[in-house]
Amino acid sequence: MTAAASDHALEVIGLRKAFGGLAVTQNVSLAIRRGERRLIIGPNGAGKTTLFNQISGDMRPNSGQIKLFGADVTSFASYQRAHLGLSRTYQIITLFSGDTLEHNVTLGLLGLRPSRWQMWRPLSFYGNLATEARRTLDAVGLLHLADHPVSDIAYGEKRRVELAMALAQKPRVLLLDEPLAGLSDTERTTVKSLIGSISRETAVIMIEHDMDTALDLAETVTLLNYGRVIVDGERDIVIADERTREVYLGV
């Protein structure tokens, strides 16, 4: 049992969440293996982001359990989950718009290091953080903009900064909330190959509407509708499933 549990990077067991009378997560259970590539699909309002918010700790479920590498983290705050290797990006961009790209990514690095409590040394004292931040920005193709404030860059570039912040943390579980939304075709290709190149140590769970691109990246797919898991399993089986066509593909 313990061996089986530790095989899973993330487990969600019987999760329920309601806003007043509106049930947004209804008895959702998921099991994601280490290094798995999972795509979560479903129509608008299916409860995908709400599910992410509960996994990351931004929101508390009414009942149910969330486990990271076998450890029950249901009552953990977001920052504690981050230290267990969970990272996420946001659907609505939440960056530090007055700060440079380098500083944004550096904050991602700082968050997991004890030096975030350092009260007399300037951030620039930790040169390795800046170097690491620049390396990550290079990986997402934004090194040339490292010294610009986030408010100066284009939307697609901001999305890539979001991704860079999460990747810099070298997470073991990465939640990507619509990483491709609003990107041009070229950017889409860049981000796609970037997600494809994420280490196999990292389990990636992705919400995405762009099926053409996202399905290529996914091994397994979960279909949500009205807060319930409708179909769950290997990609091709879920896609072929009649209920998927009914709910999502509108056939």
Partner: protein, 308 residues
């Protein structure tokens, strides 16, 4: 370059007692005290995004503790100062736990309520605090046997403490903890997701701000040799907040300029106009309309535009 520009300013500040009369030296001493107080509030308001309307609590309580210990119980100034600062810092830790249950407007209301409780106590617990009469006849300390009774000697003592306070708070906000603090101000949810503990970061800052508020309170009671419940009042908190916002919150120099402005208006305008608060209100309105981010950021923006 910016450090070189600070040398003439430092020289003027140090040499002030040689060319200014006692009235102006005393005014400068008061400005320095108000500046430390405003800078400590700026840690919360400007860098932490925690708008407090009860910061006078720390100034007032530190002043009262020192006043009571030295006058009533005959303690020496050294131990009284230590106790006063330690007590005030501990109180900040306790008040922080209560106030940080909320953010934004809720936080503001809790800080206001807590400071009102203290103000009420200072008024009503007259067997301890002497109520509305205040505690008079206090003395100034004599560090290393040097008397601080002359305007100049107190000013220099004040200047040393203020410089130290300015430096320590500047280091604090530019440290990596300072980066954590500013991040939590701008995007608390994101910061939590990145592994930062927003509550703890805010709480530590709250305590640190309380500590420096206490230091300002000690200087305040040394300067005035008198303490009255008004030092704990909402007006006292609000004036400091006004100074921080008018000068430019979240900048190292803004609160100093703002605090000086409020104090000068208070001292000068009150000699000519009875309702000097009205004038302060108008000046504040003017600043907010013309330079919404405050005097220091506003002027430096203007300067940059001109030099371009």
């Amino acid at each position: 370059m910016r450090w070189i520009a600070a040398i003439p300013l430092a020289a003027v500040l140090i040499a002030l007692p040689f060319f200014a009369g006692d009235f102006y030296i005393n005014l400068a001493s008061q400005i320095l005290i108000a500046a430390i107080f405003a800078l400590s509030l700026n840690l919360l308001v400007g860098y932490g995004g925690m708008t407090s309307l009860g910061h006078a609590s720390y100034l007032g309580v530190a002043a009262y503790i020192s006043a009571l210990l030295t006058s009533r119980y005959g303690w020496g100034h050294g131990t009284a100062a230590l106790f006063s600062i330690a007590g005030t810092t501990a109180m900040a830790a306790f008040f922080g736990v209560i106030a940080l249950r909320a953010t934004g407007l809720g936080f503001l209301m809790i800080t206001l309520a807590l400071s009102q409780v203290l103000w009420g106590l200072a008024y009503r617990m007259s067997n301890v605090t002497n109520g509305d009469n205040g505690i008079a006849g206090l003395t100034r300390p004599m560090p290393f046997g040097i008397s601080l009774d002359s305007a100049a000697s107190f000013y220099w003592f004040d200047l040393i403490v203020a410089s130290l306070a300015f430096l320590m708070m500047a280091i604090f906000v530019s440290s990596s903890f300072g980066s954590s603090l500013k991040g939590v101000r701008d995007q608390p949810r994101r910061m939590a997701a990145l592994g930062f503990n927003p509550w703890m970061i805010r709480w530590i800052t709250f305590i640190y701000a309380g500590f420096w508020g206490g230091v300002a309170g000690l200087l305040y009671v040394y300067y005035n040799k008198y303490i009255h419940p008004t030092s704990l009042s909402t007006t006292s908190s609000a004036e400091a907040l006004l100074g921080v916002i008018a000068g430019g919150s979240g900048t190292p120099g803004g609160p100093v300029v703002g605090a000086a402005l409020v104090l000068l208006l208070k001292n000068y305008a009150s000699a000519y106009i009875e309702r000097w608060n009205m004038l302060l209100g108008l000046v504040f309105l003017f600043i907010v309309l013309v330079m919404p981010t405050g005097i220091v950021p506003g002027l430096s923006k203007l300067w940059r535009r001109k030099s371009r």
